[in-house]
């Protein structure tokens, strides 16, 4: 059937397919001031939830709400102190589905 292209899943639909119980307190905090000096920006391509968004002033806008809690961001980031990473409060965050 060749390389017939059907539309790929829109990113927001992809993320909305997972369930997140959002806690009012952020479990991950990004220090945008430190990101301002970062040219490599590993987080932007690697975060599976696409939560790291570059801003026009050279910083990073981060939203913790739809996060898989995977740990990729703190593993790939090379700047000390840029990411403070924790698990969300017990019972909150991503909840994968039962059948």
């Amino acid at each position: 059937m060749g390389r017939e292209v059907w539309p790929d899943i829109a990113f927001q639909d992809r993320i909305d397919s997972a369930t997140f119980r959002v806690h009012h307190q952020a479990h991950i905090v990004v220090d945008s001031a430190i990101c301002g000096d970062c040219s490599t920006r590993e987080c932007i391509v690697a975060c599976p939830a696409n939560l790291f968004v570059p801003t026009s002033d050279g910083g990073i806008l981060f939203n913790y709400e739809q996060c898989f809690e995977c740990g990729t961001c703190y593993m790939v980031c090379n700047r000390e102190g840029a990411i403070s990473w924790d698990y969300p409060e017990g019972g909150f965050g991503v909840v994968y589905k039962r059948t």
Binding site: M1, G2, R3, E4, V5, W6, D8, I9, F11, D13, R14, I15, S17, A18, R21, T40, E42, C43, V45, A46, P48, A49, N50, F68, E69, C70, G71, T72, M75, V76, Y87, P88, E89, G90, G91, G93, V94, V95, Y96, K97, R98, T99
Partner: protein, 443 residues
């Protein structure tokens, strides 16, 4: 040595605290509860399995020792009776396809299952045995006694500190407890891969037809050469009326290029060998999780005074190309940790030396034997040559063998191999060395 008082059950909230109700934690708790120990099993998710994703196929053979006839009750999707390994380039694919009818019948081999189902089922076995399961509670740190030994945990509940003679950390790949205790050095991104997965819905009959199976028989496909410039691999597994399609991607390589994980999945799904399998399927759930990928070379210290590590927290996941086994290694290491703690409590010695029965059990069984045997495999399978040169080499050799080029006569296989090796740019001595490394790793 710990002072005797620290082991006085009357002053402790529990005999043992197990952190994390994944396969490692639940198996540890089953063993301990059945031995009559007071066990608290703490899980940060709202129910066991709610935070956990994998490919996935579980190989529950080790459960024969804990839950006889587990196959009669485990929440299984399909029994794997067909395993394929596919090597692909942009427009070619070579597949080794294996079928075994016996695997579809008891005592079975591997099964596809959803982790929120499987982990919840296994944790319930611990509860039935007498363990106390506390969900929706995140363990935030370790408590220590005056002697410096681990003596309990802090949690995010009000007045949530809990004391115990031993803590077994089964808190998975990002084990902050192991790190706090100094059992790991720094986490090194080079030792991890990111797994991303789409669970896609298709009617059962469509899955049966496309994958060539019937009833509850299922298929496991592993793929090399489908991850663009990133070193890694792909997988497709059949559930009853969904399929799991995903990639594992080496973190430093992923971070150093431009394509995002979901774009890499989309590219694989458009491959002519994959597209007919996944066409028209509807996304049910997207998920992501890390894998400790580096095998024995990243093994942390497995015990401290009053503390053991099991499962992914101990990096015991076996990720060696055609083998991606973590759940069985987690279940076994959890079970052996439980046994070692029972022994240590009986001897009233929960120091590192009192807990040495754990390491001894791991060394004596597949847990560390398989890791030692396959110690070169993760590096080899994820090496640049295997990832980026061999797929082109192997598939073009196959193409030229199967191509009919009349009126030109058929070329000899030896000549094709030599020509394609040169064309792709693989040095003969590298090929020989990788062959030897492969035999040493897998042989």
């Amino acid at each position: 040595m710990r002072d005797a008082g620290a082991l006085d059950p009357a002053t402790l909230d529990a005999d043992v605290i197990v952190v994390g109700a994944g396969p490692a934690g639940s198996c540890a708790a089953i063993v301990l509860a059945r031995a009559g120990k007071r066990v608290v099993l703490i899980e940060r998710g709202p129910f066991p399995g709610s935070k956990n994703m994998y490919g996935g196929v579980v190989y529950p053979r080790i459960l024969d020792q804990l839950i006889p006839n587990w196959w009669l009750e485990a929440p299984v999707q399909r029994w794997v009776t067909r395993r394929s390994t596919m090597i692909m380039t942009d427009d070619k694919a070579l597949t080794v396809d294996f079928r075994c009818e016996a695997w579809g019948k008891p005592p079975h081999n591997g099964a596809t299952a959803f982790r929120p189902d499987f982990d919840a089922w296994l944790a319930d076995k611990a509860v039935v045995a007498g363990a106390r399961l506390i969900c929706s509670t995140t363990v935030t740190g370790l408590l220590h006694n005056e002697a410096g030994a681990v003596s309990g945990v802090t949690t995010d509940r009000p007045d949530g500190d809990l004391t115990a003679a031993v803590v077994i950390a089964c808190d998975g790949v990002n084990s902050f407890l192991a790190k706090q205790e100094g059992l790991y050095g720094e986490f090194d991104a080079a030792n991890y891969t990111l797994g991303v997965k789409e669970t896609l819905a298709l009617p059962k009959e469509t899955i049966d037809e496309r994958f060539g199976v019937r009833g509850t028989d299922g298929v496991d496909i592993e793929i090399v050469g489908c991850t663009g410039g990133v070193n890694g691999g792909g997988f497709i597994y059949t559930n009853l009326d969904t399929i799991a399609v995903g990639l594992v991607l080496k973190l430093p390589k992923l971070a150093a290029q431009k394509q995002r994980p979901e774009e890499l999945i989309a590219t694989m799904k458009r491959h002519p060998a994959i597209a007919p399998l996944v066409e028209g399927a509807e996304l049910k759930e997207y998920s992501a999780h890390l894998i400790p990928e580096a095998g024995i070379s990243m093994l942390p210290t497995l015990s401290g005074n009053g503390m053991l590590l099991a499962g992914d927290a101990a990096a015991l996941c076996l990720a060696a190309g055609i083998w991606l086994e973590g759940v069985n290694f987690a279940m076994a290491s959890g079970m052996y940790a439980g046994e070692a703690v029972v022994e240590a409590l009986r001897a009233q010695d929960v120091t590192v030396s009192g807990l040495a029965g754990y390491q001894r059990r791991l060394e004596a069984t597949f847990v560390l034997k398989d890791h030692r045997k396959l110690k070169r495999a993760p590096e080899l399978v994820l090496s640049d040559r295997v990832q980026h040169l061999y797929p082109e080499f192997v598939t073009s050799v196959a193409e030229r063998m199967f191509r009919v080029d009349n009126p030109a006569p058929k070329p000899g296989v030896r000549r094709i191999i030599a020509q394609e090796r040169k064309r792709v740019g693989i040095r003969r001595r590298d090929l020989a060395a990788d062959g030897v490394a492969g035999l040493r790793s897998f042989g």
